[in-house]
C-alpha cells in the first residue's frame, strides 16, 4: 500500500534545479535550448509549476544521460500524493476484492 508521508514528495523540478542545474552550472535558457523546448516550458518545471510529461522525460533522459522513468516516477509520486491529499472521492470506493 501507499506509504504514509507527512510531506509532499520531491517535485522533479527540485531535483533538476539542485542536482543538475546548480551542480553543473547550467542555466535555464541553456538547458531549454538543449532540450529543444521553450524557455517557459522548462522554467515552469524547474520552478515546480509544470509537470514532466512522457515527452519531456525522454528529452531529460537524453540530456542528462538518465532513464526517462526516473523523471516520470518522480512526477508520478508527486502527483499521486497530491491527488490523495486533495480529492477524496476515491475514499468512497468500496472493495470488490478481499
Amino acid at each position: 500500500m501507499t506509504r504514509a508521508r507527512h510531506r509532499s514528495p520531491t517535485h522533479p523540478g527540485g531535483i533538476l534545479k539542485r542536482h543538475y542545474l546548480e551542480t553543473m552550472n547550467l542555466g535555464i535558457t541553456e538547458v531549454a535550448e538543449a532540450l529543444r523546448v521553450s524557455r517557459k516550458t522548462f522554467s515552469k518545471i524547474v520552478n515546480e509549476r509544470g509537470a514532466v510529461t512522457p515527452d519531456m522525460a525522454l528529452r531529460l533522459s537524453k540530456a542528462f544521460n538518465t532513464t526517462p522513468e526516473l523523471w516520470l516516477n518522480l512526477q508520478q509520486t508527486y502527483d499521486l500524493w497530491h491527488t490523495a491529499h486533495s480529492s477524496k472521492g476515491w475514499m468512497a470506493v468500496h472493495a470488490l476484492a478481499a
Copy 2:
C-alpha cells in the same frame, strides 16, 4: 535506460479486463458503480481508449486491494512506449552530461 521492446506494453485496461473483470466475473456497470465513476469512464479504460489517472488509480487500488502505483506504473510504461515511438522531437536533444 529504456529497455527496447518490440511491442506495446500492456495497457492497464487489458489487465483489468483479463485479471479482474473476467476472473472475478464482474461487469463494467458493476465496477463503475463501485468506483463511483460513470460507466463511460470505466469502459474507456477497460477498452484501452482512456488513461488511468492518479484519481482513478486510487479508486482501483481501493476496489481491488492493490497499490495505486500498480496502475500508474502500467499506464506510465504504456504512455512512455507510445510517446517514444510516435514523436521524435526528443531524439534531437543532445547530451549535457556524459
